[in-house]
Symmetry: C2
């Protein structure tokens, strides 16, 4: 039950954007440098976020990605769903490959309840968190913002 890197990297990257960039387009290159994530891989993750309506993009110089909504409108739950794709939070409603019926027939699926309740637990928790929440936490922790980073290297 490992959390995929898509979620971990993805959330870290989005937090980074909300915390450091605000609304401005920022390049994958920048984020990957700050967060130490493979740029190419991060691009893929961002594609998912784009399809999910979390990010928008702009090509060309001065281009990059930027948040499609306000930070408080982007929940961690939405990020998870976009990143993991299958939207299976904990994974099993006992229908892995159409074996769902069999589970019902057997009736032996108390475990299904367990996974369902666990998934709900996570769902509720993740739904209560959004990028704004995370930014506030970051500020509470005293995390440094790397603002105007673009210009630092041009002088």
């Amino acid at each position: 039950m490992r959390l995929s890197t898509k979620s971990r990297y993805g959330l870290r990257a989005l937090f980074d954007m909300a915390y450091n960039a605000g609304n401005l387009p920022i390049q994958v290159k920048e984020i990957s440098r700050r967060q130490n994530i493979s740029p190419r891989y991060l691009e893929q993750i961002f594609q998912r976020f784009k399809k999910a309506g979390i990010l928008k993009s702009k090509k060309g110089p001065q281009g990059g990605y930027f948040l499609a909504k306000r930070p408080e409108e982007i929940t961690v739950q939405a990020v998870m769903e976009a990143a993991e794709g299958d939207t299976l939070l904990v994974a099993c409603t006992c229908d892995n490959t159409g074996e769902g019926e069999l589970c019902e027939l057997d009736g032996n699926c108390v475990t299904q309840q367990v996974w369902k309740e666990a998934a709900d637990l996570l769902h509720d928790y993740f739904s209560g968190l959004n990028l704004k929440t995370l930014c506030e936490r970051g500020q509470a922790l005293g995390l440094k913002r790397e603002s105007n980073h673009k210009f630092m290297y041009y002088i």
Copy 2:
């Protein structure tokens, strides 16, 4: 974030044992038939449970696996840890491959908090459930027990 089949199959199998077999040794073959799980794979999972002190085994005819403790002493949490091995519940305390320090340096790990809290949530939930709990649930659902199943095929 998919729950590995080791956990799903494993818990289902253990529940099956507690519910149907009681203390008697039961064969992998039987469980895999009832639960529709690949027998060889289930054996591997049971080896983990054996090492974790959840199951014991007996070879030869009339042999099989049986619970090493009473059902109420086997928590779902313990099953998860035994099945998943790495004991990583949600996976990331940000030290995937010794990159932990880097996360601290960056200080950009608000996400670490999030995963930690989510993991704790699951840990608490799973620790509150055990095989006896599940059996009671099964009974409440009116699941049929397949008792004396051995003899049914010998007449």
